[in-house]
């Protein structure tokens, strides 16, 4: 109930329209990967999924941000069902990648932001390797590129108060890691797939 209310409020406030351009909303296991400019990105992407898909989709988010206050912690754990990860350098005991693979399990999907942090540049930054490793460990999971439009204008980095601009979330064509595709080529291809969605977005 709370989840539905929060999702509805997020959609209303961000004015977000979900455009399923390259695929439909399906219950397949997927990794949604998107450009990252605002703290609202994860929650809005999560909210724009239809309820049955949303229930099985977990947003991967930075532990330092989401555990900073009790309210954030409550939202992250009880509403968004977030998977909180450390942004520090991984150690054998604490590797966020293993957490992500475990979180996928046999029915969950993930939302990740491969740039690693929120950017203020117009173009997304080069992707970090996590997406590649996920693709290698779980070749059965569909990788769906997503473009988040205008979220940086609704709640830019460094601001607390949002402005009710109209955002949109565009889902592209699912992709997979090709046989023997090297890591840099794959990450560039993934980044281009996200950016390509912006062009058709006007």
């Amino acid at each position: 109930m709370t989840k539905h209310l929060v999702a509805g409020a997020l959609r209303l406030f961000s004015g977000s329209v979900a455009r399923w351009q390259g695929c439909g909303p399906e219950l397949k296991q997927r990794v949604y990967f998107a450009n990252h400019t605002s703290n609202l990105d994860g929650p809005v992407l999560w909210a724009s999924l239809p309820p049955p898909v949303r229930m099985l989709t977990r947003m991967v988010a930075a532990k330092d941000y989401w555990s900073a206050s009790r309210l954030r912690m409550k939202l992250a754990c009880e509403v968004f069902n977030a998977l909180l990860i450390e942004r520090k350098k991984p150690t054998p005991e604490c590797n966020p990648l293993d957490d992500m693979v475990n979180a996928l399990g046999d029915r969950h999907s993930l939302i990740i932001f491969p740039e690693g942090g929120r950017q203020t540049t117009p173009e997304p930054q080069p992707f970090k390797g996590g997406l590649y490793h996920l693709a290698r460990k779980r070749p059965d999971v569909e990788l769906v590129p997503v473009w988040m439009e205008n979220l940086n204008r609704i709640l830019p980095k460094g601001e607390i108060l949002p402005v009710p601009m109209l955002g949109s979330v565009t889902f592209g064509m699912p992709m997979r890691l090709e046989d023997g595709e090297p890591r840099p080529e794959f990450l560039t291809r993934a980044r281009k797939a996200v950016m390509a969605l912006r062009m058709t977005n006007v």
């Binding site: 004015g15 204008r153 830019p156 108060l161 949002p162 402005v163 009710p164």
Partner: protein, 317 residues
């Protein structure tokens, strides 16, 4: 519910409902006759528009029935949504963020609260004087000078059109004191909104039926002389025939309808030029078949202030 006790308002509402029923029946018949894909698409859009009209009429009528507060809130909400669409299409920068927060959550509600309390003086100058001077100060304090004048102008312009101009429609209800017409302003507001929107609809219908010569092909390919003159004349005729709902004589009502048609046309054309420059067809997608809030309020935003002030000058004590 006081408004309901006036039979003239009931006739206006009844007439509008009759018109909607006829439009829905025509749409239903056209949908059965349509064969080619392009006519099917046109008819589907026409029917989506008619369905949205049902909803818009229901919302507007309910607001009027609730009274001044309901009407002020409804137009305030419409202004907010129109401004939202306007600013979304306007390239602003991170340095404008806090200014925009002020525009949406402080200036707009304050302006409508002056309207709600009937404070005419403040309503008339709050945005053109106080907001005009304070908003660029907020942007300057944010420290980003790149394209400063351009960014500031765009925010100001959006605020003027979406909030200041649109708010002059509910001002017809709230701020006009016409001798011998006390307590009946709801009818005049209904007449004004009906004439603005009929003008849009009639120009669309005439344009679709016999539009040939484009008025400003680079701005709006759908605006034709045939549509403008035919639709305008029809609207002025209807506006004059409804003079009994206004404080005007039939001739005066025709004259006021001419003003509304001309200003409405100007609003449609100017807002089209902005859309074209931004490379979009519609302001948003909030109202099925119509586009965004601003697509339905573009004519009204230009017509309302002029209609309000001419009426005030001519009629107000």
């Amino acid at each position: 519910m006081k408004a309901l006790s006036d039979p003239a308002l009931l006739y206006l509402l009844g007439g509008t409902l009759g018109l909607l029923i006829v439009a829905s029946l025509i749409g239903f018949a056209l949908a059965k006759k349509a064969v080619t894909d392009s006519t099917k698409a046109t008819v589907a859009n026409l029917n989506a528009r008619t369905n949205a009209w049902w909803l818009m009429v229901a919302v507007f009528a309910t607001a009027l029935m609730i009274g001044p507060l309901g009407t002020t809130l409804m137009f305030g909400f419409s202004s907010f949504m129109a401004l939202r669409e306007f600013i979304t299409l306007t390239p602003t920068k991170a340095g404008d963020h806090r200014t925009l927060f002020w525009v949406f959550f402080i200036v707009t509600p304050l302006h409508y609260s002056f309207l709600g309390t009937g404070w005419y003086g403040m309503f008339a100058i709050f945005i053109p004087v106080y907001a005009f001077l304070v908003l660029p100060l907020r942007s300057a304090l944010a420290g980003d000078c790149e394209r400063f004048l351009e960014r500031t102008s765009k925010i100001q312009w959006g605020l003027m059109v979406c909030v200041y101009c649109i708010s002059h429609a509910p001002a017809i209800l709230m701020l006009l004191n016409i001798p011998g017409f006390e307590g009946q302003n709801a009818k005049l507001l209904f007449w004004f909104v009906t004439v603005v929107e009929l003008s849009d609809v009639m120009q669309y219908v005439w344009g679709k039926l016999c539009g040939r010569r484009k008025i400003a092909p680079t701005v709006s390919p759908s605006k034709t002389w045939e549509g403008f003159l035919g639709g305008g004349a029809t609207t002025v005729g209807i506006g004059a025939a409804l003079w009994w709902a206004t404080p005007f004589s039939p001739l005066q009502a025709a004259g006021m309808a001419v003003i509304v048609v001309l200003m409405g046309f100007a609003g449609g054309l100017v807002m089209s030029a902005i859309k074209r420059d931004r490379g979009v067809k519609d302001w948003g997608g909030a109202i099925a078949g119509h586009g965004g809030f601003m697509d339905r309020l573009d004519s009204l935003s230009f017509a309302a202030p002029v209609f309000f002030h001419v009426t005030r000058y001519v009629m107000d004590a």
